[in-house]
Amino acid sequence: MTDLRLIRNFSIVAHIDHGKSTLADRILESTGVVARRDMREQFLDDMDLEREMGITIKANRCTCPYTYKGETYMLNLIDTPGHVDFHYEVSRALAACEGVLVLVDATQGVQAQTVANAYAALEVGCDMILVINKIDLPAARPEDIALEAEQVLGLDSSGAIFTSGKTGLGLDELFAAIIEKIRPPAGDPDGKLKALIYDAKPDVHRGVICHTRVYDGSFKRGDKIELMAAGRDYIITEVGKCRPKPTAAEVLGAGEVGYFLAGIKTIADVSIGDTVTLSSDPTDQRMPGYQPPQQMVFCDFYPGIGTTTDQLREAMEKLWLNDSSFTYSTVGSDALGIGFRCGFLGLLHMRIIQERLEREGNVSVVQTAPTVTYEILLTDGATQKIESPSELPDISGVEEIREPFVTAQMIVPADSVGQIMQLSMERRGRQVKTEYLSSTRVMMTYDFPLAEILYDFYDKLKSCTKGYGTADYHLKNYEVGDMVKMDILVNGMPVDALSVIVHRDKAAYRGRRLLERLKKEIDRHQFEIPLQAAVGGKIIARETIKAFRKDVTAKCYGGDITRKRKLLEKQKEGKKRMRTVGNVSIPQEAFMSILDPED
């Protein structure tokens, strides 16, 4: 057991791409936890998808020994995800720490996610150290950025540490600051066991690995523990620390961060935020636990051609055991058959889940456009939440439809304020406040209907600001809106999976845009296909896909066979993503075309 005085538990928070993973790599390397020759980029990001996309999705952790003024400290680093979709993972990680490094890129300055993450750390009551990173870059302005951070975040810029994750510059100063400025954990090493499960990960061979922070007491292999919220007892089979691979230890004591194994079969048996205590001598101070993650975005996954509903279900079940932050339930569509209504933390989360399903579950997925949750007030006074346009009750029984609003913080260059105001107005945004961070940068706070910023808002913001703007948002409330359900008819047949709930003022415009997109996505058939958008039985937009008459390869001789066959096989693969509605083949992309409110 380590002396509490010699333990520091800390996390790093940053805007995406500010170099958090690279700095973490250097910390691992310079404390000797990972030998230089074993170093891969972004060591803590161990999901393939994370390394490919250059983002951290699941929080990871590592215990690093560091000798300072003749004493060996245990520095426990808990890595956190940077993307807005994964806020709840950030809060989870922070709750297990006493300190946090607020990392800011020396060329980019404070961004929207820096603000959101730093506020989250403040709420938890962490000690904060301002770290200005990437100071090796020619465009770095470390002093200016430190002052800006002081103004925006209220962090003392005189204590800022200047580092380069790339070259390792400033690491000694950083370690000294971690030890000097972050308080050691408090707790009673001899008290009754009180530990928090802040994350859990399935392991095919050993059952679930529970990542834990011990507050009071200690536990070891052979102890009988109780998961207090679940009310279940287990026998500990191993305790240990991540270095960064799980490494067994004798005991986990107060103040320490580590893991335990207890023969827990599936991740569904563990609730993150649960309190661990000894069955024989339980603590009477159960931890408050975590809010379960809130799904903000819903869409349906249907099996593509070549995949059955059962195969898709199996793949979803398997993935859910690994990441229970999405939800799914069975749903049926006339157009697409039996599939699953899924809830996600955000759009990126949705994309990741779809990709992991196809990659790890080896299934083909047809996905419908994402939608938000609407709250329906019925004429009888009851309220009901719907996650899909198809769930909207008959309009005669509906008193009002309420849609989710978010508060968004956008940090943008001062010269793009006009464009951002224009963009926000188009998205039915309401200005809350505008603050100048410096003469060149502005923080704009707006309330938006979530549906309006769901899909391409972030891209638009980026293009309005030449890539410099950043945004972050959190759910505010539900507000009444003049919403209508728009149906789409393909060749006279309503395609339920294409229905969408839209604001009445925007219905005609959205309908026209949607049909234009659909027209591009659906190939010409050997007959003419009318496309229609309808609200309450009234056609508000119309397009026609002309019949094709000729699609034939003129020449096909001996030298052409391989190439023509490959073309044929490519077409065949394309058809795998098609669904037939009536007698019209609709590619998967068409089901996503609802997404695109503007071009």
Binding site: I305, Q526, F548, R549, K550, D551, V552, T553, A554, K555, C556, Y557, G558, G559, I561, T562, K564, R565, L568, E569, Q571, K572, K575, K576, N583
Partner: protein, 404 residues
């Protein structure tokens, strides 16, 4: 209809076609994506020597009896007469010409003179395929052809005078600026020359060609799809009235005058390919030679072969190729042959798409074959893709053993 090459799948003496690619032209046409280079002042002899060497290596080693020969390109008739003579002589040496039922050479108008025509006939050539393309000067210009419409009749006469009886004329429709009337005019002029075979190709914008680049940069406007479909339908009618029946999507012949060599491709039978960029398919393996002339000459010099790609035709590939090639033929996909070569009945394998496609009037079948309907032929790519996408292919059943 008896199938000459199907004996291969029954393990009896196997026959194959021989294709020789001569990659030279007077100039490169904007639409062409075959491998060829402008001849200019180039010394063609190293390449011809390499062709001769490859024929000498491949033909005897293959174990096949050559049944048809086709010299294509490029324009085989542009090379110097001594080299053409040497190439033809080497072919005669490697092949038992008494077993050859058809020997075709491609030519362009104004590339055949008396001496070359005489040489061809003396060397055993029985058929000439001539790239007439159009009888309208403006259309020939937009195709970047060097000849004029008036060059075509004298070239045909020269060949006839020396004894070439089997003659094909190639024509192209869907040319920018072409109308239904000008297309009818080209067809009429072609028929007037009394060939026994006419090939009519819809102009294709192949990736990487000058023509495609011109369309993409807006310098030319491609023919309207509906007009092109009308031209195609008009072709079938006009040629049928003149006694030419359609036997393949783009090929029309007087009875008994179908191109035997090309039939072999469409019936998925073996063929040996010689020359740069040429492909061959022998013993269930397809190979492709290196394209560039320099590389080809070097590789042949080193080993006698110049393959850069080779693939075994597995069962799924074979199924795709049978559909891709045989449906092009009016005789259709031969049910018995398909069963023998793949072990499954195509009517079962494609049961689902067949039902849909026949109710759309694009395909029909009986106990002998599955065929495209007249409307289906215009939408052949769509039909083929529907068939292979909707097939019930399961597992990998071993191919029936094919004798070497």
């Amino acid at each position: 209809m008896p199938h000459a090459g199907q004996s291969t799948s029954l393990g009896i003496a196997s026959r194959a076609g021989l294709y020789v690619h001569v990659p030279f032209c007077d100039s490169k046409c904007g639409y062409c994506d075959f491998y060829s280079v402008a001849i200019k002042d180039r010394d063609t002899s190293p390449l011809i020597d390499a062709l001769i060497r490859e024929i000498g290596v491949r033909v005897p080693d293959s174990g096949y009896e050559i049944q048809t020969i086709f010299f294509g390109g490029g324009t085989p008739t542009v090379i110097p007469i001594e080299q053409l003579g040497a190439l033809l002589a080497a072919t005669r040496d490697a092949v038992d010409l008494s077993k050859v039922v058809e020997f075709t050479v491609e030519a362009n108008p104004a590339t055949v003179n008396d001496a070359k025509a005489e040489l061809l006939v003396r060397s055993g050539v029985t058929r000439v395929s001539m790239g007439a393309q159009s009888f309208i000067p403006s259309e020939l210009a937009s195709l970047e052809r060097l000849h004029s419409p008036d060059d075509i009749p004298p070239s045909v006469a020269t060949l006839r005078r020396h004894g070439i009886k089997q003659l094909n004329l190639d024509l192209i429709f869907g040319v920018p600026g072409q109308t239904l009337d000008t297309w009818r005019e080209s067809l009429r002029r072609a028929i007037e020359l009394k060939p026994n075979h006419i090939a009519c190709y819809g102009l294709t914008y192949e990736p990487g060609t000058r023509l495609t680049a011109q369309r993409e940069t807006g310098r030319l406007q491609s023919c309207d799809e509906d007009l092109e479909a009308e031209m195609f339908e008009c072709t079938v009618e006009v040629l049928a009235a003149a006694g030419f029946h359609q036997y393949e999507i783009s090929n029309f012949a007087k009875p008994g005058c179908e191109c035997r060599h090309n039939l072999l491709y469409w019936r998925n039978e073996p063929y040996i390919g010689i020359g740069p960029s040429a492909a061959g398919c022998i013993h269930n393996r397809r190979y492709k030679n290196v394209s560039d002339i320099g590389g080809y000459v070097r590789m042949i010099g080193a080993s006698g072969l110049a393959e850069i790609e080779s693939e075994a035709i597995d069962r799924e590939t074979l199924i795709h190729e049978l559909v891709l090639m045989q449906l092009r033929l009016n005789e259709g996909l031969d049910l018995r042959l398909f069963r023998e070569r793949t072990g499954v009945d195509p009517r079962e394998l494609f049961a689902e798409p067949l039902g849909q496609l026949s109710s759309s009037g694009l395909i029909e079948w009986d106990d002998a074959a599955i065929r495209l309907t007249r409307r289906g032929r215009l939408l052949a790519n769509h039909v083929m893709a529907e068939l292979v996408a909707g097939s019930a292919v399961s597992g990998d059943v071993a191919l029936p053993v094919i004798a070497a």
